[in-house]
Structure formats: C-alpha cells, structure tokens
C-alpha cells in the first residue's frame, strides 16, 4: 500500500482500522529516506534500529486498541538543532560534530508522550544561520522539485525530507523565516507559531527573542496536529507563555489585509501573482479585502540584521572548547578558545558573530542594537494598529521561487533579502504560515504567507485550511510521488 503521501489523520485511520501498521509505514519511510540521501542529502542521521522497535511497539498498541493519539506511530524528521537524548545534535557545525545530547528538548518529550517516532535528524544551515542550507558543514541539501535548486533554509533538510516523502512531517525552527521559506520552496506548509507558545528548551539557541519551533508538513491539518502536540507552557523556558488562544472569524466575516510594502519592488511578478490568485478566491467567497501599509516593514532586514547577530554573538559565546564540542589546543585558555572558534565555526556564523559583537560593543550599542530594539518596538506598534482593522495579513512568502545552488553564496546581503517577507513576523512575535499555491514557469513551488495577531494560531490554521482546500495544490514533486 502507498502510505507515504497520506496525511497524519488518514494514516491514523488506517492504523485504527487495522488496514496498515506503523511498522509498515516506518519501513517504507526509512527506505525512501535512505534512498533519497544520494540525490538530496536531507538528513544528517537516520535512526533505523531504535525506531523500528518503537514502530513495532506502536503496532502492538493499535492491535490492542491502546493507541494514544493521532501521532502514535507517525514518523517525523527533526531538525538537527533540536536535542534528542542520546543522539547527536550537530547544528550542521564542525563545532558540535560529536556532541551527543544528554537530554531531550521539551518538544521531543511532548512528541514522545504522543508516541511519535523519528526518522532522523535533518540538515540545516550551520546554527540555523542561512536561507539555503548551503551553510552546512556537512554538505548542502538539494530541492526535491529540482536538484539544481536549493530547498531554502535554514530548515532545508526538514523541508526536503517531507517533500521527498522521507518523513510524514518534520520539525523546523524559524528565526527569520527558516520554516516558512523552505516550506514555500518545497511546496509544503510551514507554520511559525506565536512566539512563546512552543518551548525553546532544548533548541540550540541562535537569536532567543526570535527563535521558534514549528512544523513543516504536507497539509495544514498535519501542522495543526503537530502544533497541538508541541505547544504549551514550559517552566524550563523563561519566555514561554501561558495565555489562552484568541478566536478570530475565519469565514467571510474576516477582514483580510494585503501588505502593500510586500507587493512592491524586490518581489517577483510570479510571487505577486500567487497573492492575486488568493485575493480572487477570497473575493469570490465574499471576504472583505483591503490594502494596508506597514512602512517599517521596509526596514525589517536592517532591524533583524542588528538584533539577530547581537543575540547570536551572545548565545554562541558558550562554544568555547571547555564544556562540550570541538577543542583546538592553545598554550593558554584564551588561545585555545580563539583557535577553537576559528576552526569550529563556518564563514556565515563568524560573519554574524562579528557583526553582533560590533553592534553590542562599547560606543556602538545605542547607535546599533539600541536603535534596532526601538525600531522593533515601533514595528510591533504598527502591527498592533493594523490588526485593529484586519484579521489576517497576506503577502508572498518569498520574493522569488527557489534559487539555484551557488547563486547567492558570494553575496550575503542578497541572501538575506530572500527573507524579506518572513522576518517581520519574527520581529513582532506573530504566528505566520506559508501555504503552497502553485508552480512557477520553472516548475518550482510558490506560496503565500498569512500572518495574524499573537495568540490566534488556531484561527490562522483554520483560515489557512479553508484557503488550502480552495487552492487544491498538487504537492508531490515529480519522481517522489511513489
């Protein structure tokens, strides 16, 4: 039976009705994951033995009608910056190439409770810094739709894994678009939840006020099931929140804003057309649509590239060759640290640490970091004001379709620009989702992004699911459908 293309709910239904077993699914998934590696390199590790055992235990539970929920026996891929106890967490860095995590991230403990199983750990840009998965110390990942192209990043391995049907869904992390941009490039759903609703405990920190874990999946419903399993207050994360969800209308009583600044220069005609297509659908269904302006969005790359590197330079100070990770010897402790960090970090990580160190250094703090924080606050205020008149904001997810491998590696700023549409949601802590809408003239996926105000994740998912049904996008890249 062809199980790889099914949704979580469809698979669960087959397991419950004893028409398929989790171990059969796991075998199919594992074969696909192993066979796709040569072409895609989506994974840094695959867990055949330990998880086949878990899948068989799941068989038993379904056989005895003791299954625990929708994720029981569902194989998920996990981005390799999220800790699974007793497995490697490399963050695609030479710095952590041999690091074995002694603990579980909270999201993993929660998925364990649901009896989900793991296909393996997925490739990423080193420490999640990048937009193409080309910054991995262990080789780049390729886009299943066309292997000349990047899968996006930094969660490019997770997206390539799901798109190639090497996992049913995956966890990624999103600091400036690292879930939504690769999901869009690979024809998938990518959901960045409201900041603080999913614990960051056990996620290797890049920029703590921006990082958020979320799902990459084939459908909105799969994203909802995973979000429901991994969200919730966690006292191990001081930024975790315990607030109730707010309901928004998602029928035609909802008001939809089209973000003017994300439909202007720098956005390809093809990306704009996808938004127009969605607007037409919404108009036909009787939704109220209006153009809205958020002038500070134009400055979001500037704000982000001061705040994220500043936080990164502080977070990555822990990699000093003392407690874990790589050590390169030196005559003194200080020399050892300098040598370790020179050898252990790749170019992009060094670039961001240095930028952040500069932005935080004496004499420049107010001029750079302080100013960026105040600009961020102003952007949050702009969003708050817009959300008084609109329930959902729609824009392209990415300025263009996926780009070719090697096309942007020599120009950091050009690479940063590929996150133009996604960064604002991180700066403002908003829930934001990318859903696939169609294919470009090069036969590469395109998507739209929908944002809503904080704590409206469930309504955002409901609204997105309505659109997903209307769009009816065929989500299987050629060559990976069977």
């Amino acid at each position: 039976m062809e199980l790889l293309n099914l949704s979580i709910r469809e698979l669960n239904n087959l397991f419950v009705n004893k028409k398929a077993k989790p171990s059969e699914l796991y075998s199919e998934i594992f074969d696909r994951a192993a066979n796709s590696e040569a072409a895609l390199h989506a994974h840094l590790s695959l867990f055949e033995e330990t998880n086949l055992e878990k899948a068989k235990n799941s068989d038993e539970r379904f056989s005895n009608s003791e299954n625990v929920g929708l994720l029981d026996g569902i194989p998920l891929a996990i981005k390799d910056n999220i800790n699974i106890k007793n497995e490697k967490t490399t963050c695609s860095s030479k710095m952590l190439s041999n690091f074995i995590s002694p603990y579980n991230a909270t999201v993993i403990s929660k998925l364990d409770t649901e009896q989900a199983i793991y296909t393996g750990k997925t490739n990423l840009d080193e420490f999640a810094m990048g937009s193409s998965t080309e910054n991995s110390a262990f080789g780049l990942t390729r886009n299943p739709w066309n292997t000349d192209y990047v899968p996006g990043g930094s969660s490019g391995g997770s997206a390539a894994s799901v798109a190639s049907r090497s996992s049913i869904a995956a966890l990624g992390s999103d600091t400036g678009g690292s879930i939504r941009q690769p999901a869009s490039f690979c024809g998938l759903v990518g959901f960045k939840p409201t900041y603080g609703t999913v614990s960051r405990y056990g996620l290797v920190a890049f920029a703590s006020s921006l990082d958020q874990i979320g799902p990459i999946s084939k459908s909105v419903d799969d994203a909802r099931i995973i979000y429901s399993a991994i969200s919730g207050h966690d006292s191990l994360d001081s930024t975790s929140i315990n607030d109730e969800q707010i309901d928004l209308p998602f029928d035609k009583n909802a008001t939809i804003g089209i973000v003017k600044e994300l439909m202007e220069d720098g956005i390809s005609e093809e990306s704009k057309k996808e938004v127009d297509k969605v607007i037409d659908i919404l108009k036909q269904k009787g939704y109220n649509i209006k153009e809205v302006s958020l002038p500070l969005i134009k400055l979001s790359i500037s704000i982000y590239y001061l705040i994220a590197p500043a936080e990164c330079s502080a977070n990555l100070a822990r990699f000093d060759g003392v407690r874990y990770g790589l050590r390169v010897d030196g005559k003194t402790s200080y020399e050892m640290m300098e040598n370790t960090r020179a050898e252990g970090f790749g170019d992009e990580v060094k670039r961001r640490i240095l930028l952040g160190t500069y932005a935080l250094s004496a004499g420049y703090y107010d001029e750079y970091y302080g100013k960026a924080l105040r600009a961020r606050k102003k952007m949050v205020d702009e969003f708050s004001s817009i959300f008084k008149e609109c329930d959902y904001l729609i824009s392209p997810t990415t300025p263009t379709e996926a780009f070719k491998a090697g096309e942007k590696t020599s120009n950091p700023l050009e690479m940063y620009m590929s996150d133009l549409c996604t960064i604002p949601a991180n700066l403002a802590g908003l829930p934001a989702i990318s859903i696939p809408t169609g294919l470009s003239s090069n036969n590469l996926p395109l998507g739209v992004q929908i944002m809503s105000k904080p704590l409206t994740d469930n309504s955002l998912l409901n609204f997105s699911e309505m659109l997903e049904k209307e769009l009816d996008f065929n989500r299987t890249p050629e060559g990976w459908s069977k």
Binding site: S209, D329, K331, R351, L355, K371, R374
Partner: protein, 96 residues
Amino acid sequence: MSEKFDISNIAKLASISLSDDEKQKLSSDLSVILEHVQALSNLELDTNIEDVYIHPLEKELVLDEDIEKPSLTHDEALSNAPKASDGKFIVPPSLE
C-alpha cells in the same frame, strides 16, 4: 552611524582568530551589511522609550523559584567535555 571598524579588535572581542584573508573578506562583507543598516539612522524614534522589551509580546521573563530539582548528573554534564578528569573540566592555563 559609523561605518569604520577595527576588524582585529572585533575578532578579539569575539574570541575568534582570523587569518589575514578572512579579515579582508569579512571586513568587506560587514561594510556592505553596515551600509545597509544605515537605513535605520534616518528613522525618527522615541529615544525616551524605557520599556523596550526583549520579549516580542512585551512579556516579562518568568524565572523559576530557586528550588532544587533533578537535573543532569555530574557524569552527564561532563559527558561531552573535550577534556575532563576527576569530575572536573580540564583547560589550559590562563597565564603563560
């Protein structure tokens, strides 16, 4: 905003030794990025904002009460150490 910076000093503050080639390349990259963020310099911002939060939802960070709880064991905490002995991390001397 200032554009000029001393890459050697920044690298020293960041504890990363850089080759001359790296210094040249990174200086050039950082100049381009810093030029881009200059866009913020024209922005009129309320410099009196005292309550600029780190949490994007403007929440206070919540700390646990100072109560002992189970955590990593001593051996687990040392399990990834590049060099350890006698239950301690071993590092080179601080002074030559």
